[in-house]
Assembly symmetry: C2
Homo-oligomer: 324 residues x 2
């Protein structure tokens, strides 16, 4: 099945003089992997192609090939700009003007919230990663060969956005594409280690503090853990560093609800809720002015730590008892 | 390509009156998933089939379908016995006699150490999991349909033995088979959570103690962590519970070597070594009478904790400096 928009996008790329590839800010494995893969394919077609990003390449992606395409001193303008893995043009940050000033604006993405305007915009919300679309574009539309470097970039893109093929966005096609990528003799075991396993000093410290704070309530069905302002202050904590801390409680045997609190400033808390099987935590978050889904929700709350804990615990325990 | 041994195995199964399926002791996701999948397929062919195991179904596999095939009161004898995912017949434990007494003994495995005698023995060391072989056997030799329950069992088998498609034994074929299994609308995200994420109270306690003990040495290139006998005594610790503790240090940023010690009895330590890039830890383990590979090795050592730490640290630091 030939897609008319991907056909147009590939024609524009094939006829382009110079191309700039623009992944979203706070670049991740899909945005950067997809951009470098497309960049390497276009380079092999003798195109002049630059990849621009707003920050340093993250440590856990420093192994990606094709980084010679990332330019510190870009041109003033490019004739063709490609927005990659980005649903909102303001998320190009300092590079937004390159997109607006280009003669031809192309956009390739998989976010269902995408609202980017382009001459040709391809949004496939069924693709688990933008890297999956780029694979299709290179092979079936640009008619270029994949090589080992491109395969590394695309594999990284796909595992990043599927959590290593674990998230529900993973499809049979995701695994089929990945099977093809494995044929290029890539060291996928190392790539997984780099993308998923590396832990910063700060993250280890936060994990330790979170584990040490853990309390089991209601016969171990509720796991409560927290980081106080005193725990955090003096540390340079990125928002990423908090990710997954709520799962320390959630993954513990017999736990139904995990509640994780962090005191962002004295007396002001961000609450995260996760459940495993039967409690709808969005209802709890809602009653504190927050929101979310059945199994994952969040809210803000103010007060003293132990008061906040008492109030929240009562609410969660009531829900657990109501459903038991 | 039709394999003559798998053809013979399928003929024996198709003509069997009653069949017993025997996975290895300390049953895991591959052994049990492969056995239940084959059992369900044979059941659909109206065969009398029992699966026997030596222990309870592990908690993290309690979701597996087909458990009605697991019998507490087995027959005295079976005419056809199948050894599954097991390289050494003594690892059938209390069920070994069923294998020896059967009229027909079949064996299906993927371990390169396999030494099981059988009327027909199929060992495919390229298969990442025995589940991968069972998929092939059901579809191409027994000519039976896969259903959702069988797909759940086989997917569980495959992710167990590949660490979620991350170990180097994963092949393009592994991903292709898994792509097919995803088409049966299985809740693979839930399966991954059950197989990999669930942590016991004991495990969390050991993780916490290990993290709290962590010391960084030689500019953070060596991560040392340990559990003392005092930490462990009074806890019921399974050998599984120690698994992965050495990776807490290994996964930390900038670490090259992780050394994890546990005091098995007062003054007697088991040492585990992991490296990330350039230190051959088998050399270190060897010098203390142990062994292993470049990136993973182990040894035993006796002494007082701080003396043992000093001795080992000196050795590891010398290796790091030698390679730097």
């Amino acid at each position: 099945m030939v897609d008319p928009i991907l056909t147009s996008i590939s024609e524009k790329l094939i006829n382009a003089e110079d191309i700039v590839l623009l992944p979203h800010i706070n670049v991740d494995g899909d945005a950067l992997g997809a951009s470098l893969a497309l960049g390497l394919a276009l380079k092999a077609m003798n195109k002049s192609v630059d990849v621009l990003i707003d920050e340093e390449v993250p440590d856990n992606l420093s192994f990606l090939p094709g980084q010679e395409l990332i330019k510190d001193n870009p041109r003033k303008e490019y004739s063709v700009a490609v927005n990659i893995d980005n649903g909102d043009i303001v998320r190009l940050g300092n590079r937004e003007h390159y997109y607006h000033e280009a003669k031809t604006r192309l956009s390739i993405d998989h976010h269902n919230t995408n609202k980017v305007e382009a001459d040709y915009s391809y949004v496939d919300t069924k693709a688990a990663a933008t890297g999956e679309i780029i694979y299709d574009l290179i092979i079936n539309y640009l008619k270029e060969d994949i090589d080992k470097d491109i395969a590394i970039c695309l594999y990284t893109a796909i595992i990043t956005d599927t959590g290593g093929f674990r998230y529900t966005n993973t499809t049979p096609h995701t695994l089929e594409v990945s099977a093809e990528l494995l044929k290029y003799d890539i060291d996928f075991s190392y790539i997984n280690k780099r993308v998923f396993d590396m832990v910063s000093y700060t993250k280890l410290y936060l994990m330790k503090k979170t584990m040490n704070s853990l309390r089991l309530i209601e016969d171990g069905k509720l796991a409560l853990s927290y980081l106080t302002y005193d725990d955090i202050k003096g540390y340079t904590v990125k928002s990423d560093d908090y990710e997954g801390l709520v799962n320390i409680g959630r993954n513990l045997q017999d736990v139904e609800v995990s509640l994780f609190l962090r005191e962002e400033s004295p007396g002001t808390f961000r609450g995260n809720l996760r459940s495993n099987n039967y409690v709808d935590v969005s209802e709890i978050a809602h009653s504190f002015g927050g929101g979310g889904h059945k199994r994952a929700a969040g809210f803000n709350i103010t007060g003293k730590l132990e008061e906040v804990i008492d109030k929240l615990t009562a609410e969660v325990v009531a829900k657990i008892r109501g459903k038991a």
